[in-house]
C-alpha cells in the first residue's frame, strides 16, 4: 500500500461549472486511491461550498469552448455571449450533455468527496471579502487562511492550483 504515505492538496480558485470539475474529479479519485486530500477554496472557488449550487458556464473569452451540435462543433462569437440568456442557455446545454454522457454532476462529486473524508477549507478572507456566511456553506468544512494551507501543502506530496 505505497499510496498511504502520499497525500494531495488542491487550491480551488474558480467556481464556474467547467472549472469546478478538475478539482472535484481529482480530489475524489485521489481519495478513492487512498490519498488523504485537502481542498482549499478561495476567491471564486469559495461559492462551490454553498449548500445550494447553480453553476454556470460562459463562452465569453473562451474560444476553445465548442459544443457538439448537429454533427459538428459550434462555438459562440464573443459578442453573442453578452446577449442576456445566452450564458444560461449554454449552461443548460452543458448540463444536458453532462447527464447524457454519464458524467457526474458537481453536486454528486462533492457529496462523494465529503463521504471520502476529503478535508475542505474555506478561505476566511474570501468569506469576509465577498460577505458569505459559514451558515450557508455545507456542513463539516473548516475555516482557514494562507498559513493553514501552507502547513497542509508543506506536508503534501502533490499540490495543485486550479
Amino acid at each position: 500500500m505505497s499510496a498511504e504515505e502520499k497525500s494531495m492538496s488542491i487550491i480551488v480558485t474558480k467556481g464556474s461549472l467547467d472549472w469546478a470539475y478538475p478539482p472535484f474529479i481529482l480530489a475524489t479519485t485521489a481519495a478513492a486511491m487512498g490519498l488523504p486530500v485537502t481542498m482549499f477554496f478561495t476567491f471564486y472557488g469559495l461559492p462551490l461550498l454553498l449548500k445550494k449550487l447553480n453553476l454556470q458556464v460562459t463562452a465569453a473569452g473562451n474560444p476553445a469552448m465548442k459544443m457538439p451540435m448537429m454533427g459538428m462543433h459550434m462555438g459562440l462569437p464573443n459578442l453573442l455571449t453578452a446577449v442576456p440568456g445566452v450564458d444560461a442557455g449554454c449552461s443548460i446545454m452543458m448540463k444536458n450533455l453532462i447527464k447524457k454522457k454519464g458524467v457526474a454532476s458537481i453536486e454528486e462529486l462533492r457529496e462523494m468527496a465529503v463521504e471520502a473524508e476529503v478535508r475542505m477549507i474555506a478561505c476566511q478572507m474570501t468569506l469576509d471579502l465577498f460577505e458569505y456566511d459559514k451558515a450557508d456553506m455545507i456542513e463539516g468544512i473548516d475555516i482557514g487562511g494562507a498559513a493553514t494551507y501552507i502547513e497542509v501543502a508543506s506536508q503534501s506530496d502533490i499540490n495543485l492550483f486550479i
Binding site: 505505497s2 499510496a3 474529479i25 479519485t29 478513492a32 454522457k101 458524467v103 457526474a104
Partner: protein
C-alpha cells in the same frame, strides 16, 4: 464467480473508479469484485487504481464495447 458485481456501464470518468472503491468495501479480504463498464478510459484507470492501492487486477477483457474487470481485494 466474483463475490460482488458492479455495473458501471454508461458512467464516465471518474465514476467507475469511485463506485468501485465503494463496492470494494463490501468485498471481504482476498475476495473479488467484478466491474462492468463502457468507458474506454476505464482500462488504463483500473490498471493505475490497482497499482496504487495494492488490489490486484486479475483479468480484464472487452466484449462488444463492454469492459469487464476482475479485481482481487488486498488483505
Amino acid at each position: 464467480m466474483a463475490d460482488h458485481t458492479l455495473d458501471a456501464k454508461g458512467l464516465n470518468c471518474p465514476l467507475p473508479i469511485l463506485k468501485a472503491r465503494k463496492a470494494l468495501k463490501e468485498v471481504p479480504d482476498n475476495g473479488t469484485l467484478e466491474i462492468l463498464a463502457t468507458d474506454p478510459g476505464a482500462v488504463a484507470d483500473f490498471e493505475a487504481f490497482c497499482r496504487q492501492t495494492g488490489n490486484e487486477l486479475l483479468e480484464h477483457s472487452e466484449d462488444d464495447g463492454v469492459y469487464r474487470f476482475l479485481i482481487k481485494k488486498a488483505a
